[in-house]
Structure formats: structure tokens, C-alpha cells
Symmetry: D2
Subunit: 357 residues, 4 copies
């Protein structure tokens, strides 16, 4: 257990059983099967809203599909300074929504600040072609620094967007973790707060390939179906993707897994906070822990087999490190993390540095 | 068992076991894991050649990745009249290789005719910018009418392409079936015949999501890795895709499954040939059977639960139907097809038509 | 005077005077000037319809702008076998409307056949994502073989398109020549016959850079303005483009120039018809003459300084040459062609072949 | 004379004469003519280097062509915070180089800071696909705040780029003004300082449509010719574009015009500096003057017919206004500006504010 990322874990036992069960018998291809229908019904139940849902291979694909559905000529999408769609997906959303660009918006703790969004929109007066047209806002919940938006915080961003006629997208790669932390319902964190589409990520939660682009306005579905196919994301044997989603949505399985991962995240955070030469960057709200590490602390972890990658934020608003030589690192718990895994990590981090070489 | 397509089948038992085994333990994400390394080594063994391999969600994605890797400004890709890349993928390869277009080439039995390719290239004299620049040829083996290219037939097309400096792509959605029919080795049907990249499809063969873009020139890998990510096709938990490929390549499992499917295809063909008001369009070479059906025959099958979709070829070179009222339909056997499934189909097709309504 | 193309001519005297006059004084950039307003008003007058008009650098740009405005995800545009948009523009419309592809439709004399269009649409049943969605039809008037569509012929194509909900685009690179031949009004040949947008080409007619994308539904203008800018086609000093359009639309100047070019085209046709070893491919309707030339005839012309380029049609429906060794060539008259220019050409073509080498 | 922009001026007398002369006689289309050859030779002379040159309709097109020529999969282009390519061209370069994105780099006075560029490159470690691959740097000279890069300043940026294997692009929409200010030769400000391609803008200088994409590595020309055509930027009657470039390059005409515009810019700057409630944002180096205006000053100018548009910089490094209520505006002189035009502006700006309404 390296805490490198929650996508280093396999899939949950229930998901694997569901995959096994899904393999039996003939079933129509390309999502015409009963598993897909059942998964879509569960998604509507989960969100308490009619939905159009498209199963895809990756979170980037879900993001790209949502943003391309909302695209307009010379469109501009707004997101946080470190938005995954802009920084970590090799511009997939901007290949699949050609001619769309990204405008980074500052805010606290890696979030989009509503006032900062308002200011950013001033660069794009309606009808002035030179700068492009403001089209959509994309927020990430859990965000890129492990922080959650509450329903109110989501609505605060969405309200600014809606006043300018923008669509609102939610990158929910760790949406279940946000649900577990905030205690909000899926509806509260999405359409009730003004969100038009969600990239629902269930792979990190405990699937192996369980990502869905969910739209709350089914009228978009007609065209999006063609985008989905043209993005080479329509699985021929979609029942296997649907079966994973079913397993994760039934009986709140995803939420249970996420709550466990969050708890392990908090245990990790305690380990960081307790270490002599490490510190939390922000209070931990999910299964992701961002830490300042002294060079010695980083070396101790690396020596014990924990990969430490230096994190370079784009936002300028994070609290500074206790010491300028300390670097930022990320540690992530998963549904599979055990208390003893965290405790071994904690012991390594806490250990006094060895004698200098 | 409806014979609607081989992607209506689930996954083979060995594949499902492999998926189960792959779930255990932590593993690096994004293809940094041991399963992925093992699958790549097996691909190199299978093709007897150094390869760069990229795991993707769909055959369209593999095709798009291969063609975009070979793309040049205003590039033109040549393929058969009914090439899947041009007719059945909602232009995915042309979204992911922006500015690339397709030129359809006639030939016998849905294949690319080498002479016809030569003539088509005359439309694109080098250096004349108005028409675009000839860039690549893509052939499909098994092709869109269930026919196979032998190594010599492959080389005949590739030779024309190479003389003009074009790259050669093979859409191998049913490549194992082509291997089983021709008895050729993977190397013989690809790089030894002049093929530069293969979309290796193992999903229809018996996986659930087992598609790989295979390049024989590893020098392309550096840029293709970025295309792969930007196409939103880089699985975070790639070990699950790799495990399927391993299961299918080890011990010739894919070949065994494909040989069975082909045998069932031939049994289906016999049923068609024997029916009073149906006929084969072409001699069956793989697991796909193309049949001319009288309206009565189509009704009998539909009534018995076999979906009959009218096939509209783009090529003008297929033999005509025995009767102008007959329409073309396709029936496909899979690794799961049993003799009794075919025999039930045969009985339905052979049954005298009911009294007219 | 080589008859290589009508774009080998310069600009008409009135156009050059208009350019000179347009240079005086300050004027708002990017089309906010009085020349642009005047040109738009003249366009509305000319077409007897409210229009949204965008000035662009090339006919390809006008075509791309029109087709991208009508694009939908995985859209398919239908056009004639030799449509300029598909064969001679290096796929510009398909770069600027990413993910759009082209379906070639046969018909008589290089035109789109309405029945053939109807059949082509069968390949794209609504809602079936695999093949893409039929989006627009584009016809060229004067077409790629110098033939004109009458209002009725235009309507016959447009009617098929409209029944399927497709938009209709007219590539009017030589629109004035079509007006001169048919005697129809601009309204009759466009919106009254079902055309939604026109690429109005006035460069070949007598401008140097006078191309306009004209839309009859001004509601599209809001988004198209962004496409126009993003296509890098919004001139900063647009008054110079507008001044050319004004000069060509006022007092029927373009029509006068086109009528002269057509007359010279007919004189050219007589020369071809009279020659011993040349023949017309089709009856000449405009300023473009397509001729079958014997090798000797081609050599005589080349020797006299007339460039002869072999024309390779994509359509299979043109009448065959009188002799299989004869090749197709094109000769084009312009507003500047004089009778004596044609007569010199006629004398060269009529001259008895030299003794065999 | 409103000083709204230098593209509100017409074209110089010499340019208009050259256009008139270019219209005579037949000439091969698409740049095969003698004017185009002469213009290319003059460009090579001007830059003292072999060049590949492509004539285009707009500066955005030149930028797009240069950047697309240097594009690689998932490429990232670096530029100043307010780079015209990212802020004022509706993302044209990113439509024409699909999948390419922009990374804004801070620096002094709207320039790219070499150290800041170095830091920005740290976000894109080679081989890490998630973030994209650093591909090119684009600097603007004269930059977006009227400031010039000297040869040394250019080289300082280019050196950082070259160490990472990036190509260097220069957006030279006002390149002649930069030459006039720095006194450097075209070679010194481009390839001798590490620049690989220049968008040479001569429209604002005194043409009406005189923009050229100039590459110093002719090996790129083969593919760029196709990009040029596919971008719908290849003029059919290119002689008219070439004739303008010839007129502007011969006898240093462009430099003469730019020197005059710069001198008028400095006179404008003096007017701003002398006004009681206005101030220069930065010392003026070219024909563009950026000013802080009090609300009263802005009203005086507007009342006198000078349009005042509030300028919203993206960079955070410009000196603050003398008073937080003052806003930024831009005034631009052109080759046509006369001393008395500036003096009238100066008198308006200097006039005491009228009694409050």
C-alpha cells in the first residue's frame, strides 16, 4: 500500500462478482442490454432526476463529453487554477471540443472563487468576438487539493455562471468522497445547486472502469450520443461497464467504500500532522492528503518504498510551507486501505532521520 | 443466441478468471504495472517483432490512434468502400486526426483492389496542395464482408502504398479469425507483408474490453503516448485491460476461440446455403456470414427471435441477389456459439413459409 | 490569355477604382465601417432577403464557414462526386467543422441527382450513431463541370434534403455565371429554391479578394461571428473587401462581367467543337469548357503556350471520350477574355497536326 | 483620426499604386506568379536568410500557421499573460492546431520573463503524458503593451526555449515598429536571436491585407503548404497580396512608415504625460500608448469623438494606476497620423474638465 493514488487499488469484491455475473449469456451490444438500462435507472434514482447517461472508459472522456456537449464556437471554459481538465488530461476535453479554450480562475484552497469567476467573465463581453465566448464553468468535487464544495459553495459558483448563461459541469472523479464528507445527497451537490452535467467517477471508488457522463437535461442526449460514438467511447460490450456501476450504486456500496477511504485519509492526515518534519497543506476533507515534507521526510518515505512526487500547484493561494525547502506531496487512501497500512506509513514518517550519509 | 454480432457474447471463462486475479493488491496506475509489461512482452512474442502497444477502450479508438499517428497535414487515408473506419465509427478517426479525410477504393469482395488503389492515388499528385496528401492505407482483416486477406493479398495492397510512401494500417477487429482462416502467423499477416500498425481487437474474440493499438516502429511511441492520453483512452487501472490481453494471447487462447467461431460460421453458412429462399453473398471465410434473404425468410427468422437488419453495402462489386426483392443480412458466430444454436437457426431458416397472412 | 482559369485574370477596372477610393480616411476596423454596412445592404437587396454576411479571404473559407455553421456532432455533408469542397480544398471545410465527413453522391453531368441523394440518405438512419448523422447538402452552381442548376433543379435537390431536416448550402464560386446562364434572380437560385446559405464568390468574376458567406437565417449570425474570427478570416481592414463587393454588386457589374465571360466560354466551346481532334465533354453552359483532347491536340496547345492539365473526374457518369486515348482538359474564359484571344486559341487547336515525330 | 487602432487607417499611397499595377494581365493563380516570387526573394533579402513564406489574410492566420507547423500531440505553447494568440484571436491558433493549449507566463511589462518561462516548463516534465508536451514559445514584438524586445531580450527567452527543445515563434503584427524602435535588423530580431518563424504583419504598417508567415527552416514548407491550403488561406489571386508586400519591403517603405508612426506615438505619449488627470502606464516604445485615465479624462475624450475602451490586462505586473478609479486605455498612431491630429488630441486631453453635470 503505497498511497500513490486511489487508482493503484484493484476493484471491490462486489464489483468483481458483478463483472463475473454480467458475462453470462447473450446481450445486445452498444448499450442496448438490460444491465445498461438498469444502471441508467439507478442513476436516475441516485440523482432523483431524469438523466441522460453515457458510459466511458476514463474520467477524461466523461469530462470531454460533458464539455463538448456544452461547447459553442470559440467557447471558453472556466475552472480552478489546477483543474484536472486543464492540467492533467493532456487537453483531452479541448481536442474533443475543438476550438474551446480554458480560463483559469483563482480561489481559496484550490476552489473557484465566485468573485474571481465574476471578474474573469469581464474579459469576455458578450458579442465581442476577439476573446471568445464564455460557455461553461467546470468545478471539481472533491477538488484537486482534496477539498470539497458544499452544496452552498457549489451554488455560489453556479449562480455566477447562470447569470451569464453559462452551463455548469462537475468533475466528480471522487464524487462519492465528496458525498461522504459533506453528507449531502447527490441531488444537493448537483442539479439542486445548479450543476448541468456530472462526470461521475466510480473507478477510483472501487470499480476498474466505471465512469459515466451524466446530463440532467435529456434533450442534449440526441447529439451527445453521436459525440460519444465519435469519441470512440461507446463500448461494444457495455454490459460490463454497466454492471460495475450497478454494483457501486446499489445499497450505497460506493458511499460505503468512499467513507472508508475518507476515514483512512483522515488517519493519514493525523500521521502527517504528528510528524516532526512534515505538515498538512490544508485540513483534510477526503481521502487525499496534501503534505509539506522536509527533504529528510521525503527521503525516509522513499527509502521505505513510498513514492514521493513533488506537487507543483498552479494556484498562488495555498498556505506557504513551514520552511521554504519543504516540498508538497500527495498521499491518497483507497477503499482497500487498512488501518495498519496507515500506521506503517505513520511510523515511517515519524521515525527520526538516520545519521547523515 | 441471436447471431446478431459476436459482441453480443460475454467474455471467455479464462478472461473472467484473469480479471478476477488482476484485482488483487496495489499496482501502479496508467500502465506502469506488471500486467501491462507482461502483455506488451506477449504482444512482441506474438508478432515476433519489437512493438509499441497502447491499450484502448474500443476498436474505433485503436483505429483512430493508429491513423492519427500516421497523419500529416491535409492527409488522405485510403480504404475499402465499406471500411469500418469510414462507415461505422461516426468518423472517430477523423475527429482524432483532425483534417484527415477518407478516400474509398473499390475492389473484389469488399477488399481494396491494388490496381484500384493505384488509380485512386492518381488523384493526389505529390505537392499539389488542393487535393490533400496521400498518407496511409487502411485495410480490414477479416474485412467488412467476412472475407480474409492472405499474406500475399495484404502485400499486394501494401506494395502499392509503400511505393508512394504511404503507411499501412490493419484494422484487426477480428484479426484472430483471419489468422485461423488463413493459417498465417501474426507476423506474416502484418509487418512481413508491409503493415506498419495493427488495431488488434480481442474483444469480439472473447474479452470484454481488450483492444490494442500495436505499432511496429517503436519510434512513433513517444508522440503516440500523448495522443493516447489526449484521446482519453489511457485507463487508470490498465492492469485489467492488460490481464484480458494476457489471457487471450497465452497458450493461443484467442486463436482457439476464433477457430471455434469460424467453424460455427461455416456451419451457419451451410444452413444458409441449404435454405430454399436464402443464399450466401460470398463464400464464408470466417465467423461472419452474409446472406441474401427472401422477405419470407427474413420474416421467419424475425418471428423466431433472430434480429434481421438490412445491410446496405457501399461497394458495387458484390454478386447480385438471386432475386431483386431479396435483401442482405449478416449473421455472426462467436466463441460461445454451440452447434445446437446453429442447428436451431438452420431449422428456422429451412422451415417452409407459413400460409400467407 | 491562357484559359488556365478565370482566377488568372486581375480585377476589373471598377473594382480597382473602388479599392483606391476605399483607402481614404480613418474607418473602424473588423467590419465596423460604412463600406461593410453598405455591402451588407446591397447583399440583402441583391438576394431580396435579410442576410447575415461574412467577408472572407477565399472560397474555401466561405464554404467552411457555411458548413461549420450547419455542423452537428458526427455530421455528414452530401455533395456531388467532384464537389470542390471535398476534392479541391484540402479538406478545409472538414478541418473547420471538426468531425464532419463527406458523402459523395452521383448524378448527371456532375450534378447531385435527387434520387441518388435519397438513396445515399438511407445509409444514415436517424438515431443510429455508428454511421454519423446526415446534416447538410452542398451543391455547386456553376458546378465542377461548368454546368448550371436551374431553380427547379436546385429545388429538386433541396426538397430531398429538407424532408430529412438537412440544411442546404450553395457553393457559388461562379454564382454570377450561373445567374447569367439561367436568367434566374439570385433569390430564385437560392432561398426560394430552399438554399440556406451561399458561398458567394466574386473573385473569379472580377474582384481580387471578394468572397462572402451569406446566410438567409440571421439567427445563425451570433455563433458564426465567432467561427469567422476563430477561422482567422475576419479582416482588420474589411472596408477593402467590402468595397470590392460593392463595386461588383452595384449596377449589375458582376452580372455584366459574368455574361461576357460566358459568351467567351461559348466561343471557346465552338472552337473545341470545330477542331478535328477535340470534342466537348458536355454542352457548355458557362465560362468553363471541358474538352476531350487527342494527344496531338494537347501537344499543339502546350506548344503554343496554353497549359493543358489532365482532368480526372470522380463521377462515372460523364459521356466517354470519342477515343480512349483522348484526355479531358478544362479551358476557362474570364471577364477579360477578348474575342481575338479565343480566336488565337481556336486557330491553334484547329491547325493540322504536325508530321509525326 | 481617432487613435482607436492603427488598423483604422487605409493603405499607403505606394501600396495602392502597387495594387493597381498588379492587376494588369494574366498571372498564374495560387502564388505561381512573378509577384509572389519577387516578394519571397525580398523577404529572404530582408531577413538575410533562406525562408519559406506563406501569404495569409490575417495576423491570426499567420500565427495559427506558424504554431500549427510546430505542433506536436498534446502540445503546449507558452506566451505572455496577454499574448494576442491567446487573448484576442478567439483561439484561432488552437482550432488550426487541434489539441494544442496555451500556458501563460508572467514577466515584466507584459513580456515573457525568461525565469518565469523556466519555471513554467517545470510543469511539463518530458515523457509525462498527463500534462501535455511543451512545444513552442511565442513572443510578440512589439508586445501587447507597446513594448519592444531587443535582440538580447529575445535571445534570453529563446535560449530557455531551445534548452528544452522548443521552437520559437514571433508574433510580428507590428514588427516594423519594433525594428524602428530597437534599430536592430530583421535578422537580429529573429533567427540570430533564436526565432524559428515570424508572423510578419504589414497590414497595420500600411498595407490593407499584407500578412506573411515566414519560416527560417524551409524543410517545414512541404507540410505547411498543405496546412496553408487547408486553413483556407491560399489566395487564388495571390499577386495582389504579394504586390503589397513588395511595395512595403522595397526601399525600406515599411520601416519609414513605422518610424513615422512611432514618432507620432511618442508625441501622443507626451500629450498623456502632460495631462492633469492622465498618466502613462509604461514608457512608450512604439506607436501604441497605454494610459491611465481618470473618469473625467475619459469623458472628455469620448465627448470629442475619441473612443475610449477600458483595457483589462491579464498580467499582474504592470505598475498600478495613480488613482484606483482610473482605468487603462490604449491610443495608437499610424503611418497616417499627422502632428496636428496628435495636437488636437492633446488639447482635448489637457482641457480642464467641464463643470460637473
Amino acid at each position: 500500500m503505497t498511497f500513490a493514488s486511489d487508482n493503484w487499488a484493484g476493484a471491490s469484491t462486489r464489483v468483481m462478482e458483478a463483472l463475473g455475473n454480467a458475462s453470462a449469456g447473450d446481450a445486445p451490444a452498444y448499450g442496448g442490454d438490460a444491465f445498461t438500462a438498469r444502471a441508467k435507472a439507478l442513476l436516475a434514482d441516485t440523482f432523483e432526476h431524469e438523466v441522460a447517461a453515457f458510459f466511458v472508459a476514463t474520467g477524461s472522456a466523461a469530462n470531454a463529453l460533458c464539455l463538448s456537449a456544452f461547447s459553442r464556437p470559440a467557447g471558453v471554459v472556466f475552472g480552478a487554477m489546477d483543474a484536472h481538465i486543464a492540467r492533467d488530461e493532456a487537453a483531452a476535453p479541448f481536442l474533443l471540443a475543438p476550438g474551446t479554450t480554458f480560463h483559469a480562475v483563482e480561489g481559496p484552497d484550490g476552489r473557484i472563487g465566485p468573485e474571481e469567476l465574476s471578474e474573469a467573465l469581464c474579459y469576455y463581453p458578450p458579442g465581442v468576438v476577439h476573446h471568445g465566448q464564455a460557455t461553461a464553468v467546470s468545478l471539481t468535487n472533491v477538488n484537486e487539493f482534496g477539498q470539497c464544495y458544499t452544496p452552498d459553495e457549489t451554488a455560489a459558483v453556479a449562480d455566477v455562471a447562470k447569470r451569464r448563461g453559462l452551463r455548469v459541469h462537475l468533475d466528480g472523479a471522487r464524487f462519492s468522497n465528496a458525498l461522504a464528507f459533506t453528507g449531502a445527497t447527490p441531488a444537493d451537490l448537483t442539479w439542486r445547486a445548479g450543476v448541468d452535467a456530472v462526470s461521475l467517477g466510480l473507478t477510483k471508488t472501487g470499480g476498474w472502469c466505471a465512469e459515466v457522463a451524466v446530463f440532467f437535461d435529456p434533450a442534449v442526449a440526441e447529439d451527445v450520443a453521436y459525440r460519444h460514438k465519435q469519441a470512440a467511447q461507446l463500448f461494444s460490450k457495455n454490459r460490463f461497464a454497466a454492471a460495475q456501476v450497478i454494483a457501486l450504486l446499489e445499497d450505497g456500496h460506493a458511499l460505503t467504500l468512499a467513507a472508508h477511504a475518507n476515514a483512512m485519509g483522515h488517519r493519514l492526515a493525523e500521521a502527517v500532522a504528528a510528524a516532526p518534519d512534515a505538515a498538512l497543506v490544508l485540513p483534510t476533507q477526503s481521502n487525499e492528503v496534501f503534505a509539506w515534507l522536509s527533504p529528510a521526510a521525503a527521503r525516509r518515505l522513499e527509502a521505505a518504498g513510498y513514492p514521493v512526487r513533488t506537487w507543483l500547484p498552479h494556484t498562488r493561494r495555498l498556505p506557504p510551507p513551514p520552511d521554504p525547502a519543504w516540498t508538497m506531496a500527495r498521499f491518497v487512501a483507497s477503499f482497500r486501505t487498512r488501518e495498519e497500512d496507515v500506521d506503517r506509513f505513520a511510523a515511517t514518517l515519524a521515525a527520526p532521520a538516520a545519521a547523515p550519509a
